[in-house]
């Protein structure tokens, strides 16, 4: 039986090596994606376009607006005259945020009163809208702290702590809060869910399209032999892909890596077995290469991107989202990857995730075995 597996694996390897363009692209495309994300493309929301309707035009309002001008999160694009104009700027997308400062802004603040500033945000991109509101809140809080300090001085403050309740924030795992530190490891998970399954999804269906599958059916090879023989070389390719990306992320991008490379490699191997198996299931169930490719995008790639928790914690998702997240292997691998890059610690916290990946592999190959019935027509 081992001989047959090896024979099939050898044939697949030879076929893979015969098309260097294809194989080369399987390494080049992921790397290009990583370099784009690591160097050029910033996912941090900065320089949001903000316009101001300043009806007060006092020292107070100017100071308040300066807080926005000096923040890297905003770029002041215009001073407008009316609310109608402001609406128009939001509508046409020339501004994402408009501040509406009332005429009595300075007068009320100097009289120690509360004053409301209208903030209009473009909600057509909701997460961006929420980020914009959060930043407005942050800039306003800074201004409020200035106001409070001045007020306290006036009321005989003798130094010491300004606020009666003060927060001390410490950031763990990624102290500089750089998006690259989590985007690149996150992309490792996604990329390994894109290319390996797409490669293996064509394996069986291609033979079916060209008719060579009949040779396999007629051979003494069992379904296990076929699956194992086809999976082996591709798991190797996927694991190589992992090693290349890992090397690039640590040496080229100089990413923080505090965990165990062995643990990460073990998880990557398990994950590769899962992803290749997923591709094989799709391949066994479809009749054309086109259908297999589309199905891979829908069943493997898209859920990994949406639910694995690359941008926000899995725990934030609603019940449906969390359910899907726990059905896909990317979530478990993401846990190990993020831990290895940023958190460190031993293998124990990641044992459940590793077990889940192993269980997933068993289930996927069982389904592939069921789907790959030897039949003609």
């Amino acid at each position: 039986m081992g001989d047959r597996v090896l024979a099939i694996a050898r044939k697949e390897t030879r076929q893979l090596l015969r098309d260097p363009v294809y194989l080369g692209l399987a390494f080049v495309v992921p790397l290009m994606l990583l370099i784009l994300l690591g160097y050029q493309l910033s996912l941090d929301v900065k320089g949001l376009l903000v316009a101001v309707v300043d009806r007060d035009r006092s020292v107070w309002s100017r100071q308040y607006v300066d807080g926005f001008v000096n923040s890297e999160y905003f770029r002041l694009v215009a001073r407008l005259d009316s609310e109608a104009q402001a609406r128009e700027w939001i509508r046409s997308g020339r501004a994402r945020v408009v501040l509406d400062i009332p005429p009595d802004f300075g007068r009320r603040l100097s009289a120690n009163e509360t004053v409301a500033v209208g903030v209009t945000v473009d909600g057509s991109f909701p997460s961006r809208g929420q980020i914009a509101l959060g930043y407005v809140e942050a800039v306003s809080t800074l201004y409020n702290q200035q106001l409070l300090r001045a007020w306290l001085v006036e009321h005989g403050w003798r130094g010491g702590q300004v606020l009666p309740v003060q927060m001390e924030m410490s950031v763990w795992y990624n102290p500089t809060l750089e998006s690259k530190n989590f985007i690149v490891p996150g992309m490792l998970v996604i990329v390994m869910m894109i290319f390996p399954p797409l490669l293996s999804a064509l394996l069986i269906v291609r033979e079916r399209e060209s008719g060579t599958i009949l040779n396999l059916y007629a051979s003494p090879a069992t379904r296990w032999d076929i699956l194992a023989g086809k999976a082996l070389p591709y798991v190797a390719v996927s694991f190589l892909d992992f090693l290349v990306i890992f090397a690039v992320s640590v040496w080229l991008f100089q990413l923080r890596f505090v965990g165990s490379a062995w643990l990460l490699s073990a998880a990557a191997l398990l994950y590769s077995i899962c992803t290749i198996g997923l591709g094989l299931v799709i391949s066994a169930l479809t009749r054309t290469q086109l259908a297999a490719m589309l199905a891979t995008f829908l069943v493997a790639v898209a859920p990994a991107f949406t639910f694995s928790g690359i941008f926000a914690p899995v725990a934030s998702q609603d019940a449906v989202g969390r359910f899907v997240a726990h059905l896909i292997p990317a979530t478990y691998f993401m846990d190990v990857v993020r831990g290895a890059y940023l958190k460190g610690g031993g293998a124990a916290p990641y044992a459940p995730s590793l077990a889940a990946l192993a269980g997933y592999a068993v289930v996927v190959y069982a389904i592939a075995w069921l789907a790959l019935r030897k039949r003609v027509g």
């Binding site: 994606l33 100097s110 903030v119 980020i131 309740v165 924030m169 086109l290 490719m293 941008f311 914690p313």
Partner: protein
């Protein structure tokens, strides 16, 4: 000549309709996939998991904890020791820990209270937002204490109160946005892939020679490959927008659906032309797919859906303008969510049209050169 073309188009359609599993997959792409993607969340702060270690157990500390409320925060657990807090953060079950010292109540009275927040920075975007929220939350709590303390009547403290108003999506429902984005993504990917596959298939099976010796000109051959894609995909897009985005998720659609449909046709034409261009270079479907991804992912990342164009450097911003995806995403949200007409989106429409025609002509020329 017209009859030749019609015959070829008919052949393309019947080839497409014969592959039943693929039709089912296409159906899922525009229904189930769009529906599930509406449940994912992107980068916003929503139900952010918080673990609390309250060593004070006093009215003041409970008051502070109660301010970590929905929809931004979600208390996953009350911890009783440092070890527990660390374990929750390490395992990713909580992304934020709030630690309140035992003497909190007394020190609030004295005006010298502190509490500690530990933030998991591994998802830096949400962590930054959470930090901003807590800072303003702590400030608000302090101001209330100051105003309330000290005898009769509230003291007056100067304070700027932010009154947010969100246009077009008042409650910032992510589902409206993400379901529509998924429809756009499907149109992009499927438009390219169907056209590319229609061409590569002929090469893989060797039937491209039959077509080459037929009296059809390359441009006719290309048109025949494009017609089914440009007919079917925009219809699927419309169906998905009406049934899932508007129907299932109750997203308010404000703009002209006719305008949206017409531009979607042009857009699918552009992406399908790009797909054909790839098919001319590729020899197998596998190769075509890899090349497609090489182009597709940078275009999607630069589309402005994931990250605002104004946050990018000049180079990336200009590169984005060369991508039809960027124009289409901008166009789609402007028309459907904001109800904007041509006066607002003509630049996007012009961009899609120019890029589409250019891609078509380049692809046809490459193919014609290959034939000779």
């Amino acid at each position: 000549m017209r009859r030749r073309l019609a015959a070829l188009i008919r052949k393309e359609f019947s080839q497409l309709f014969r592959d039943v599993p693929m039709l089912l997959i296409l159906g899922w792409a525009f229904t189930g996939a769009v529906y599930t993607s509406g449940h994912g969340i992107a980068t916003e702060l929503y139900q952010y998991p918080v673990v609390v270690l309250d060593l004070s157990q006093s009215p003041a500390s409970r008051e502070l904890v109660s301010r970590f409320r929905a929809p931004y925060f979600k208390l996953v657990e009350q911890a009783w020791s440092d070890r527990e807090v660390v374990a929750r953060l390490d395992r990713g079950e909580a992304s934020l820990a709030v630690v309140i010292p035992p003497d909190f109540e007394r020190r609030v009275q004295q005006g010298t209270a502190r509490f500690q927040v530990i933030s998991d920075g591994s998802q830096s975007m949400t962590a930054t937002l959470a930090g901003a929220h807590i800072a303003s939350l702590a400030h608000g709590y302090s101001v209330e204490r100051l105003a309330g303390a000290g005898g009769l009547g509230a003291r007056r403290i100067p304070h700027v109160d932010v009154r947010p108003r969100v246009e077009y999506n008042p409650n910032l429902v992510e589902t409206w946005f993400s379901s529509l984005l998924e429809v756009f993504n499907q149109a992009t990917m499927i438009g390219m892939l169907l056209a590319a596959a229609a061409m590569v298939r002929e090469r893989e099976h060797g039937t491209v020679e039959h077509l080459l010796v037929s009296p059809l000109r390359p441009i006719e051959l290309f048109a025949a490959k494009l017609v089914p894609v440009v007919t079917l995909v925009p219809l699927a897009v419309m169906g998905s927008v009406l049934a899932i985005v508007q129907g299932a998720f109750q997203t308010p659609i404000r703009g002209s659906l006719a305008l949206f449909y017409v531009v979607t046709v042009v857009y699918v034409f552009a992406m399908a032309s790009l797909g054909l261009g790839i098919a001319v270079v590729a020899r197998t479907l596998g190769q075509a797919m890899m090349m497609l991804l090489l182009i597709l992912y940078p275009m999607t990342l630069l589309s402005g859906a994931l990250t605002p164009p104004e946050s990018q450097g000049v180079f990336m911003r200009s590169a984005g303008l060369l991508s039809p995806v960027r124009h289409y995403v901008d166009f789609g949200y402007q028309v459907l969510f904001k109800g904007n007409g041509l006066a607002y989106v003509w630049q996007d429409v012009a961009g899609i049209l120019v890029l589409g025609v250019a891609l078509f002509l380049i692809s046809v020329r490459r193919f014609a050169r290959l034939v000779r």
